[in-house]
């Protein structure tokens, strides 16, 4: 059994962001503690290794952007685009996230213990997002695959133009967007949901949630053909 790796501490009050990210990109394993992020943008973005990063303080835009494999834990809040386009691994924050959290994520898990702002999970492509509080308007807009789990309420136009993603909301939904509908929560969905809640470390009964998804009525253009109809009538 190999010895545990020591935790490397990087203080952003002293170290340029570029050096931090380069260090994280070069690391193949280990743990990192980031101090004094002070709302910096692009903190710990582009990670591509099984490393663990703890950020102590709030971060700006695109924290853990395009994340792969490892874990990023933020003890604080995050601004726009938290874990945007996440591919795998885990990103978790203890506070709230503003707009477009988990946007376009292809895989992995994003956990927001607080609330998420507008467009949470926009264009989601397979990642899972679990939000302990509420999500803002237009969340899961054009979401293609994956799951958005909301323990609180959802703002207006949830799931507008959604494709094959699932949305699970325990609280109220202000309104559903175009082509989004309520769907049955069947046992297989409850099992998925239970797994996501467990992975996120959140306690809730899956059967307290409602499931929403696509009516699939926008998948294809609806094209009339009067001429063909008349030709058929004429024999």
């Amino acid at each position: 059994m190999s010895a545990p790796h020591p935790v490397t501490t990087v203080d952003l009050a002293e170290t340029p962001l570029r050096d931090l990210n380069r260090t994280l990109h070069q690391a193949r394993q280990g743990s990192f503690r980031v101090l004094n992020p002070r709302g910096a943008h692009a903190v710990a973005c582009g990670i591509d290794a099984d490393i663990a990063v703890e950020v102590h303080g709030s971060v700006g835009y695109y924290c853990a952007g395009m994340h792969q494999k490892g874990s990023v834990y933020v003890d604080g809040n995050a601004s726009t685009g938290l874990a945007e386009n996440i591919m795998s691994g885990t990103v978790r924050i203890t506070g709230s996230a503003t707009m477009s959290a988990g946007a376009t994520g292809h895989g992995g898990l994003v956990v927001i213990e607080g609330n998420a702002g507008a467009r949470c999970g926009i264009s989601l492509k397979g990642a899972d997002i679990v939000v302990g509080g509420n999500v803002g308007h237009m969340s899961a807009f054009m979401a293609q695959a994956g799951n958005l789990v909301v323990l609180g309420d959802a703002g207006a136009d949830l799931g507008d133009s959604v494709y094959e993603a699932n949305m699970y909301v325990r609280g109220e939904v202000e309104s559903l967007g175009a082509d989004a509908i309520a769907k049955d929560l069947r046992p297989e969905h409850a099992r998925t949901l239970a797994g996501l809640l467990a992975a996120a470390g959140m306690e809730a009964d899956p059967w307290d949630f409602k499931r929403y998804g696509s009516a699939r009525s926008l998948y294809n253009f609806h094209i009339d053909d009067i001429d063909a109809e008349l030709a058929r009538r004429a024999g």
Binding site: C45, Y61, Y62, Q68, G81, H106, K125, N220, I223
Partner: protein
């Protein structure tokens, strides 16, 4: 009883001509707007409306076959560890796998590589065949983020943040179900067979201040290795170019109204945006205002570039390079008269066909039908494209030498005159034989 000359009484309406009548009939039958490919077909001021003032007594030409005339360009030297170096000022524009066949994408890569220039991915991700055969590949970062991933981001030789394109500034892409094959759908994480409509706005940034932060993030992810382009559809190129520079772009790609597409609403293609001849001077003016023209930020112009004359005129108006899309597809064999019978079966004809959206391209370029894609040999296609790029380059050099320039980037507006008042006003060069520039800015 008819008499000779009766047909002379027929007068077609200028307002309701046969094209308009046919479109109203089509709309009434289907209830859906016309979606097609290609670019704007309307008449408009184009680069043909400009001519060069070749060297004479007051300017010395260079020997056309002997004296060197440079064509190379470096993009991103100031910020990128690996700037993009291209040998000719002509690049291949972004066109998606999905809209094009894998064979076509490979052919584009082969042709561009043979001439030492770059090709560009498209909406739908990076195709392995394209990466393998492209020595320099620009990876597009699009609103849809289909297939977007950090591995491909790092594999790119430059990153192009797409804000818009000339065929549809303000609109997103369309890929009709006929072309959404299993492979295309898989790369885009979508059900196969759907009429796929891409987002027109980026999901995680709005406005130039956000874009600045987004570009910073992209640079951080790739460790500041490669340059970053911003592509805009020509609508307000002065302001958009200035804002792209402010956001930190290494190159601004301005795509004029004539820019092509594989599928967009006809009303969009024909009626939104401004012509390339008008867009280049405005973008150039923004770069000059910010003191980066012919310097740290490069301008790439596209939309309707067909010949070395077009390339030279675009450069003279201020571009550092051009991009070609439609012309590259024609070089591969698009609208080839050899397929005229098949075009006619589709209700069109060689030279007119614009239904790139419906997946039935007889030339095997804009289709996912294996029976058709097999017709395009990527090696032969690559050679055709390389030959065409070679001709464009030689033509550009021919004009540059005639104007006394030892590098094509030395072409300038002073080398040009306009044949129409409209072209003079848009290009901001004098009407030929005068010193009159309509609407000249003092």
């Amino acid at each position: 009883m008819s008499r000779p000359g009766d047909s002379w009484r027929l007068r077609e309406s200028y307002t309701f001509d046969r094209h308009v009548i046919a479109e109203i009939h089509r709309a009434a039958n289907t209830g859906v707007y016309r979606i097609r490919g290609w670019g704007a077909k309307r008449k408009m001021p184009i680069l043909d409306d400009l001519v060069f003032l070749g060297a004479s007594m007051s300017r010395y030409p260079l020997e056309g076959y002997r004296e060197s005339c440079g064509t190379d360009l470096v993009i991103g030297e100031e910020r990128a560890a690996r700037p993009l170096r291209i040998d000719i000022p002509i690049t291949i524009a972004g066109m998606s796998f999905g809209s094009l066949s894998a064979q076509a994408k490979e052919a584009l890569g082969r042709g561009a590589s043979a001439m030492g220039t770059s090709t560009t991915s498209g909406d739908g991700g990076m195709l392995p065949e394209e990466r393998e055969h492209s020595s320099k590949l620009v990876y597009q970062y699009l609103p849809s983020r289909y297939g977007q991933n950090p591995d491909d981001l790092r594999r790119g030789d430059a990153i192009e943040v797409v804000v818009g394109q000339g065929a549809k500034p303000g609109g997103g892409g369309i890929l009709l179900g006929q072309k959404v094959s299993e492979r295309v759908a898989g790369m885009r994480t979508l059900p196969s067979g759907i009429d796929q409509r891409s987002a027109c706005r980026h999901p995680d940034w709005t406005g130039p201040d956000d874009l600045q932060i987004k570009i910073h993030e992209l640079r951080e992810i790739v460790d500041w290795q490669v340059p970053i382009f911003v592509k805009i559809g020509a609508a307000r190129p002065f302001y958009d170019t200035a804002l792209a520079v402010k956001a930190g772009a290494d190159a601004v790609v301005v795509d004029g109204l004539q820019g092509g597409t594989a599928a967009t609403q006809d009303v969009f293609i024909e009626h939104v945006g401004i012509p390339t001849i008008a867009a280049i001077p405005e973008a150039t003016r923004a770069l000059q205002d910010l003191d980066v023209h012919r310097g740290s930020v490069k301008l790439i112009a596209s939309g309707g570039i067909r010949s070395g004359a077009d390339v030279a005129k675009a450069l003279a108006l201020g571009a550092d390079a051009v991009s070609i899309g439609t012309a590259a597809l024609i070089a591969l064999g698009d609208n080839d008269p050899a397929y005229d019978d098949e075009y006619r079966k589709l209700g069109s004809a060689a030279g007119f066909w614009d239904d790139l959206q419906d997946g039935t391209d007889p030339a095997g370029i804009a289709t996912q039908d294996p029976r058709l894609t097999a017709r395009l040999d990527p090696v032969i296609g690559g050679r055709r494209l390389a030959n065409y790029l070679q001709v464009l380059t030689m033509e550009t050099q021919t004009i540059a030498r005639a104007c006394g320039k030892s590098h094509v980037s030395n072409l300038e507006p002073e080398d040009l005159a306009a044949l129409t008042v409209e072209a003079a006003a848009m290009a901001q060069v004098p009407v030929a034989g005068t010193d009159w520039i309509p609407g000249a800015r003092r």
